[in-house]
Assembly symmetry: C2
Homo-oligomer: 187 residues x 2
Amino acid sequence: MEDKILNEGKVLPGDILKVDCFLNHRIDVPFLLEMGEEIARLYKDEPVNKILTIETSGIPIAFAAAQYMNVPVVFVKKSKSGNISDDVYSSRVASFTRKNVYDAVVSKEFLNSEDKVLVIDDFLAKGNALTGLIDIINQAGATLLGCAIAIEKGFQGGGDELRAKGVRVDSLAIIESMTESSLSFRK
Amino acid sequence: MEDKILNEGKVLPGDILKVDCFLNHRIDVPFLLEMGEEIARLYKDEPVNKILTIETSGIPIAFAAAQYMNVPVVFVKKSKSGNISDDVYSSRVASFTRKNVYDAVVSKEFLNSEDKVLVIDDFLAKGNALTGLIDIINQAGATLLGCAIAIEKGFQGGGDELRAKGVRVDSLAIIESMTESSLSFRK
């Protein structure tokens, strides 16, 4: 993952890491399958029965991991309408990249207190999306076993805040610092 | 696919077929892999080098098919901002289900005149999204080899209009008519 980011990623102004060429617009299928296999390996001793992700770019990573773990994926929807019905769990999330606010929404039908959940997402920056997903898992009375993330921006602190609260967070790459000309990873 | 729709789908008022439990919210991974394998079989004699889909629910189907075809997936983004930059192809689409209008957008970097494209999507109703994707493929000077669709609402006519224009359209199930109590397929 670190090589992939160094070779194919681009840093844009505003602490944006663009990995459109393999993760967020064009999907490098064999690479995502490798990521999925690695996530399955990390959680092989945990009784995960459901993967929860959030649209859009988390979906193919979650799908890849689910193939190796033999569990279904539920993807949380982003709703901007503000009309939340009774048959869903929802949590308000402020997006760092898009600079907007949305409701993360999941049907009650697809998440319940029996579920042992692995959360998968593409990026972890300030942790706002993950915090919303964890809120939803708590509302459902489900058990959170951990969060597997493709790329964590370690310097934004969201991952470490979650770890400090006792949440298991596994990131395939953790960026310690980045500028338009350099990028370093946490070892 | 027909059995899956009959067993797990729900018809809602307004000609909406809800298949949230395996396709649009909860993802039944083994079933989507079967769909992907079937799509790969249908296009095994075509020189497809790229799969184009549109967020969100097309992505896991495209990802599944891509594994069997050894090609990358590019997913077209839905933008509501109306701010279209020079480095993308875009096409205005009116959504049947959501009753809104968006710009379908793809970076020029990820689609070019060398590409031989298979389009994959979850639903085909009036064909508005597909028409937008085909417009984008034409703008890029790429070649469209066909469209593979999970569920076509045959009674809304979009698929047959495209076929009449010479576009290859393969749908895994074509619904001929549906009401809240009955559903019939085109044979």
